[in-house]
Symmetry: D4
Subunit: 223 residues, 8 copies
């Protein structure tokens, strides 16, 4: 059998305002090649996520040269260069520097969607003043993504301090009772801070899409 | 010992744009009485959630008459009548009629926040045409809350059809493998439809607060 | 101690209508060799599942040449060539191209049982029209296997659209809240679409056997 | 707010071959009344599941007299009397007499679908001869539903003995490590007996619908 | 059979510095009566925990009059009046007023151990200033018990602000993803704030014993 | 439908050396009546387990008078009086007096099997000397059942001290992290004390049957 | 720091009738060397479990030559040769040939304890006649160890057929719903076959120790 | 994107009495380099935890020579040599020699905090006399850390024997029902021994910090 059957969803932008991305984990090299060939034929670009460097190394030179790959976020822009970032700016906050890969996936995805971001890292609640120093700035963002692993306390604290749309991105940072990100996920869901929303563990792409849905609503309103 | 110690967070509106509510489950009658006394003294209103009819029946007449209680949503407006609902309108969608209590909690909370809602119920995916008939209308809302229990498939389907901010509200409807709402919760988190966000199981109040954060961002932009 | 003790169940076809297969995972090379020797001696064929290419590489040339191995599905036909595929045709549907290995295991197993299949891939509900375009065709199959990972929403949608026997095959595609296939498994079990049945996560062989039991019932009836 | 909004799926029979049923758990009396009113108005009948006797007692006499309620299975036939049972006959097997409520739900649902059933109870594997005495008879059914709780060993044993379509119905019988039916569910899924399929814990209605899908396939073939 | 066999551990004070208490849940009235009879005979007092008012109501007058029962904490002092509270003072902090029963169990147990306590309630992190206002005072306690349910974020924040021995008491306050206190338990264990320790969910008695072990160490040192 | 179908396994004694018992939980009054009628007709006795007093109260006088019911263990001897207890004596040990119902179920079941028991209660490891005082006596039993809930530490300690057959009976005593008996179950399974075996949580009947299998082996050997 | 601190429990045989073994997983090469040096100095032998071939390869020649290592069971006899196997014979039964490593650990451990074993493999219930052919023989063993993974149905079937002491050894064979052996573990615990006992997943050593405790009781009785 | 953003919490000592440490797992080489550069610039030392030897090997010579790395505990002292150890002495107790890495992390962390430790290893309860021989010595420590994996019975036994502050450190030693340390964690939490506190699985650093909080309280009192 062959696994090269692919059915792209090229009408998604019309329906929801942004394109499909390709989640590379779990796809064979042959499937990725097929997808890239189709995109080249159609003159379309695509965001690729969870794309590891060794997979890139196995690509043909023709595909590799159309690829802007970033190792930290494991994302690539294929066959299209995104335009300049537009307002409003999305705040991307992280508890610790171990959450940088997930933060980077958010930032890169929003770059692909031509949306501005500003990053605030290492403001975990165990050193509360680092966070409090940033509150005034954080209150200005209409939309924030908050990445946190381990105990996931940062979103609860932030949720009581800022008025913007809050998208919690639990990360798999930690061990033992951190349970691979489940504790951070459950803590964000069970938070008594009002109006937090949550995406899947380590799903930086999904957090960025959720942020972009809010950005779209803001743009249409300001339009 | 007495349990009447209470410390209200009356400055929350200034910080995040809307007031604290009182979650009545787990509070004693004495604590609720104390809270209501304080609010009367301060001339403040309060939204009360998860307030059962039998607790209301045990209240003093003075408190009861200041209370607008709704049995289906288990919410009450205390000591303040909300003003008229404002735009933009939040869409509140539910897979089945068993999800009505949670839907009602969303609608009542947004009424308290003086925000308009429109409800679309019984559009579960097992009868897909009921949903497809509503898609054009659903595409017009800048913000939607989607309640679903059991397999939680509705948010995934909707996520590929509409561009608005999508807040999934998993409900505890179902039995066995529905796992008290966990399957709907996990399905919404693991969805391949892009940009879904999720709140806690049966947390209609939280979904409404999340929707209101997005409404605020839209209002400020259109302002 | 030696681990070469083997007791084949060669009478299974008489009892249930199809033979035993060998699940290769967890068996030593010595055990597989012993099984293949026995089959050659008895002049019998066997389907082998979860057989990785590196295990094949370590086999004797004599065994390897009796083997029709397929890397994608990790299956092999040993010492027998299946005859041509017979009616009725089983539909094999998959949400995404990442589910191809499981789809391939279904298709190969049904080939071994000399039963026709038709494959429909990449019809996940996030791009609903891809699925709706296929509904008329899908309604014609008396038996369908539906592979889906992540949120597992496809079986619920399909269950409300088609009348055939529906066998859901949850896959381990996804991460975090997908919980290695458990969310897709639970979603299929908790679905409000009526009459779905489910097999173990990634158990393409089992899904094919279940489909074949239904095919046998149909054949006997049409007999 | 009112919870009486109801949207019936009256076209389901055309799509999948049998009607929607009403799951009464989680619905208010007002919702059930509304549904029954609609059905009377439309001249349609409906199967009601998980309907407890005390809910029936609170119905109006007009609704009660249109109702054929069975306490053991918690099912009711509303506003329609099913016709005589047709071939082929579905075998309904149970490990213990504690599984009778679930067995009864299967039998009543298939009665509603005008399909014949034959019941074999108390054939748990701890008294293996009780089962072996029935094997010849069990081998004649084209479709079997097998209810089992606790360790759920019966489906595995049966799966190696009979050729029919096998639908396992795990029940919540047992305590401790039976985990409310999860162990029986997992055992059926993990079984090495080939081609078992599984429905949700205690979902007798779903098992009957799955059986009916197979019955339909057989009828069309013998047609 | 009779269940009145009882074997008290009257030497515990010599070994660990404080007496055994009686956990009343799961004990029959006959067992509690037997224990109280033994204590009266031996001229000994006992702390009773998880003792509900209705059990007290069924006691003989002779036992009831030797009992100082507190309904909120569900504790009783039997056959002994504790002496005046001694230094050092243990701080008992709670995120919300729903945690008062657990706080009360801590305070009452420490009273029994003749140790001073000071209570600070309703300082959850969603209203951070309520907590920050108390930090200077909280920094003075050599030992603190911190009760928190839901997301359990309070211990993490406090752990970065105060130098004392920190004993986290997760409570079962909350629903859904709060998982009956497990999320607060896991969050405290996974916290990046250094040196938190944790006791069982709702185990106010255990938290007080742990605090008393630290108090003993301090007393011996200051001795 | 009726649920009175019953199929007793009267040949079990011949196969395994002791009779079937009736687990009353989950059986209807009608089913229990049917079973008792059959036994009276056959002139056979039966052990009944998990039989609550209120069920006994609803029985006919004719059945009640043939019943020796014990409320603590929730067991009854029906239609037969067991003979005198025989050697060897089984030791039944429990960590706390809250485990008495389970201990009683073990003792009553072994009485039914006409086997001697000796009970040692309240020897939990938190008061280690209570246990050490009994070690010499405990070393004399060829077979011991050890009941323990909460942390389940008693079996591990005992396993390093005595040579007899050790059957651990985890109990659901405790709360929170005791997880309804799962922690005691897992602790007994994971114990580093060699040769512990375990039965289901609260399964006093099963522990007694396991003990009786060992007793039978000893009797045959000494025979 | 050094990790060479070791405290052997050389008096265990006097207390429980058999020696300590060394679980090699999780121990460093340095720790194993230290233990072997001590044993050589003391002139004592030791059973080593979970000892992989590559660890053996890194040992000194002096240690290796005192070692009788078996790769399948991952066991070694160090510095002592066990004497001939004695009666009674323990039956060791396994559902499938994938369970051979665990079976081998049981057999080797009982060899070390100088106890006879007889092995019956590949008698899983999906091919029931393979098992029924062996029943008469299996009924003669006073003690049986039954290894089973996946659905773990074999112990339930066997428990209703044979009178001996039954020690279930769940194995991690299988995938998905087999949950790494948990389903087999739970099934054995929840079995309705009376008097099964269970040890930890893959704990062949523990099953052998449990069998040996029963063997000791039999030997003392036959004395 | 770059991941070199780092925000150190250099004021932690003033707030809680000891510095931040760097958890190296999950940090990139670039992040560690950046942190070490900052510390060198600031003339500050740092404790590094979970630092594997291969990461050290990739460091620059300049960083490596400032590093005192210990392979067993996976800790390093960077850019500062701790002073001599002070009283009071913390007892560090472990059930088995497989827990040495965690014990070593506790000891090294307390060395960094210039606090004395004394280690007692291999006193698991399966060989109880090894523990009882040490009780008098263990009773003298004001603070003890108790490491235990598998069934985690040691803390319960110790909790009834010694008066000091008891910090349980569950370890991931074991397999199957040991559940990667969860059983030891739950057993310590559910223990009936009074006043145990618990830290995360394998969190030797956290246990040491908790011990140091108690040590600080003792030092302040002894003034």
């Amino acid at each position: 059998m062959t696994d090269r059957e692919v059915r792209l969803d090229l009408g998604r932008t019309d329906r929801v305002g942004f394109d499909e991305a390709v989640l590379c984990t779990g796809k064979s090299d042959a499937q990725l090649t097929e997808i890239m060939n189709r995109l080249v034929d159609a003159g379309r670009g695509m965001l690729m996520t969870r794309l590891d460097a060794d997979v890139v190394d196995r690509m043909t030179p023709g595909h590799r040269e159309r690829l802007d790959h970033d190792a930290l976020s494991r994302t690539a822009f294929f066959n299209r260069v995104p335009g300049p970032a537009q307002a409003p700016t999305v705040g991307v906050v992280a508890a610790g520097s171990s959450d940088m890969p997930q933060v980077a996936e958010v930032v890169r995805t929003l770059s692909w969607f031509e949306t501005a971001t500003e990053t605030v890292v290492d403001v975990g609640v165990a050193g509360l003043w680092r966070l409090l120093d940033q509150v005034e700035r954080l209150r200005t963002f209409p939309v924030l993504v908050v990445a946190a692993g381990m105990d996931g306390a940062l979103p609860s604290v932030l949720g009581g301090l800022v008025p913007g749309v809050l998208i919690c991105l639990p990360t798999s940072t930690g061990y033992g009772a951190a349970r691979g990100g489940e504790t951070a996920l459950h803590a964000a869901l069970a938070s008594c801070a009002p109006g937090l929303t949550v995406v899947n563990i380590d799903n930086g792409y999904g957090a960025a899409c959720a942020a972009f849905r809010a950005v779209q609503a803001v743009r249409r309103a300001s339009g």
